[in-house]
């Protein structure tokens, strides 16, 4: 099977982006209307984020890649956080570290999160992510980054496109 490769452009954010930054609690009334909720992704913390993601999608040269620092997604268990990031058009997330629940939620949504030294990635850099091999080639700088490995069960969930498709197919967890 060929390696799963994703090409795109980095949108660089910072350390300690909380789930309240990604989708503030005051929009809880929109949680049963995900397309409407997704319009508010990172609205307070990075107001230009959503328009940059859609501009990249419109260019047709690959997907937006959210590049963060450490402890991405700290805070609440709201799975709506990775849901709205994915719905906004982001193809993958790179971070130095991700908070436990957010990391698991993103994988469960079929949104790849790879952990690597994101100091080596600048805003707007062209990236080629090899999801199978866990490598990120920074085409702008010429540097290739190795990513931390995830447990095999998470790779299997991601491969199926998330936990719900995984369970539909396997009916149970397979270690």
């Amino acid at each position: 099977m060929p390696d799963l490769v994703l090409k795109g452009k980095a949108i660089k954010l910072w350390d300690n982006i909380s789930t309240d930054d990604i989708i503030p609690g005051r929009f809880a009334h929109l949680r049963s209307n995900l397309p409407e909720l997704a319009k508010h992704v990172l609205e307070d913390a990075a107001p230009e984020f959503a328009s940059r993601v859609s501009a990249l999608s419109a260019e047709g040269k690959g997907q937006a890649i959210l590049v963060a620092g450490k402890n991405l997604g700290l805070g609440s268990s709201r799975e709506h956080a990775p849901v709205v990031i994915k719905m906004s058009g982001v193809g993958a997330i790179l971070a130095k570290s991700a908070a436990r629940i957010f990391f698991r939620n993103a994988i469960n949504q079929g949104l790849p999160v790879l952990l690597c030294d994101t100091d080596k990635i600048g805003d707007g850099d062209e990236l080629e992510i090899n999801l199978t091999g866990g490598k990120v080639a920074n085409l702008t700088s010429g540097i290739t980054l190795s990513c931390g490995k995830m447990p095999p069960i998470m790779s299997a969930i991601l491969k199926e496109g998330g936990l719900i498709p995984y369970i539909q197919k396997h009916k149970d967890f397979k270690l």
């Binding site: 005051r26 809880a28 009334h29 049963s32 402890n71 799975e79 447990p151």
Partner: protein, 417 residues
């Protein structure tokens, strides 16, 4: 080799020899959702093709985050959740009953249980020796259907507590101090396990405050042993038979050992906009507050209201400071009425909110205005948390919140106790 508490519980529940770093599938004793994560969970449950719950009596829906609902969309989410409870036969605690984590502690959590909740503060039940952790909607949807989930067995940090709290210093100050030491991601993917001679004097209410905030250091669980205090709490709540002695083995392997001498602690604060931005109250001078908020799954219990009522009795809130009080459950409210705390608080100018999450997450009942400062006993002070990214939130103990409500500015509670 000896086992940590985390390894012990997950070994038992996965019917295997679980060691830190292993991935196991564990039986789930209790799974729950609340009203802002439940609707997505239910949709995912149905989308997966599931119809029946694995354990209806061990599945709970709590309507606590928007309680009572401030918006038609949230009211409709409540209808969806009530219908699901009718269809599946699961338990439901409707608006006004209290905060999920408090109700789990009062009614369900036991030493050695595995508990998963679609809410990050599910870790609260670690106070009772339960391996309790927050998960997203997909994971909880699957746990509802299969009665199990997968875990990576965490490495543990041993938090060794010795000495006694000085006057004016409480469990909240201890946990804020700890988060300042560890950092907001310092215990990411880890278990915090509490031990030391101070536990013999630490009430269940204090343990719940500490376990509640384990997630603010990134931890997967915050575990207390099952001891005499656990036994007494379970007996008082009608489930003495569920008690079991639960300690880590001698020779268990800890990634880090963090000793804390309680007698050296001071009243602490988390400054905006990060929980690990911790200072002693003596380092923060003359910050005016427009709102003091005492409640939440961190500090809305009877002991917390007792501390606040004692400080506020016969006094008045500062005219420039709104004082909000939210009991964590109906039972807490009833007891606080019986004990006269509510009378003292109302006479001091407090607004009593219904049992539930209330102002904590920015949906209703105490949303802040631009530039306003709130001193809150909750667990999070992220930007925008209380409904307005232009507001500032400081976190502290109920004593500090009560003292500050009187003075209208952040105040050392030792002036009053």
């Amino acid at each position: 080799m000896g086992k940590t508490l985390a390894e012990k519980i997950l070994s038992l529940k996965s019917h295997s020899k679980a060691e830190a770093g292993d991935v196991v599938i564990a039986d789930v004793d209790l799974a729950f959702v609340q009203d802002t994560t439940g609707p997505l969970t239910i949709r995912q449950f149905k989308e997966s093709g599931f119809e029946a719950l694995a354990k209806p009596q061990q599945t709970i829906i709590f309507l606590d985050h928007a309680a009572p609902s401030p918006a038609q969309q949230l009211s409709n989410d409540h209808i969806l959740l009530r219908r699901f409870a009718e269809e599946t036969g699961c338990r439901i605690y409707d608006v006004g009953e209290g905060i999920c984590h408090q109700l789990v502690a009062e009614n369900f959590a036991n030493p050695g249980d595995v508990i998963v909740g679609a809410d990050s503060h599910t870790v609260t039940a670690g106070a009772l020796g339960a391996f309790a952790t927050g998960m997203g909607s997909s994971d909880v949807a699957v746990a509802l259907a299969l009665g199990k989930t997968w875990f990576r067995v965490p490495e543990s940090f041993l938090i060794e507590l010795n000495g006694a709290f000085p006057r004016g210093v409480y469990a909240k100050d201890l946990v804020l101090y700890l988060i300042g030491q560890i950092g907001a991601d310092g215990a990411n993917y880890k278990a915090l396990e509490f031990a030391g001679e101070a536990l013999a004097r630490m009430t269940m209410s204090q343990r719940l405050t500490i376990a509640n905030m384990a997630v603010e250091a990134g931890a997967k669980v915050g575990l207390f042993p099952g001891d005499k205090i656990t036994r007494d709490f379970l007996r008082e709540h009608g489930r003495g038979g569920r008690y079991k002695l639960l300690y880590p083995d001698a020779g268990a392997n800890y990634e880090r050992v963090i000793p804390v001498n309680l007698s050296q602690l001071e009243p602490m604060l988390s400054l905006p906009h990060a929980v690990d931005n911790v200072r002693s109250v003596t380092q923060v001078k003359r910050v005016k507050i427009q709102q003091a908020f005492i409640g939440t799954c961190t500090n809305g219990r009877l002991e917390d209201l007792a501390v606040a009522a004692e400080i506020l009795k016969g006094k008045k809130r500062h005219p420039g400071t709104r004082l909000l009080i939210a009991p964590a459950s109906r039972q807490v409210l009833i007891r606080a009425i019986e004990k006269g705390y509510i009378q003292s608080l109302i006479e001091a100018g407090a607004i009593i909110l219904p049992p539930g999450c209330t102002a904590c997450l920015g949906l209703h009942q105490g949303v802040l205005g631009d530039g306003e400062v709130c001193l809150s006993t909750a667990n999070r002070n992220f930007k925008g948390r209380m409904g307005n990214p232009e507001a500032m939130i400081y976190l502290a103990s109920p004593a500090t919140a009560a003292a500050s409500a009187i003075k209208g500015e952040i105040t050392d509670p030792r002036e009053f106790v």
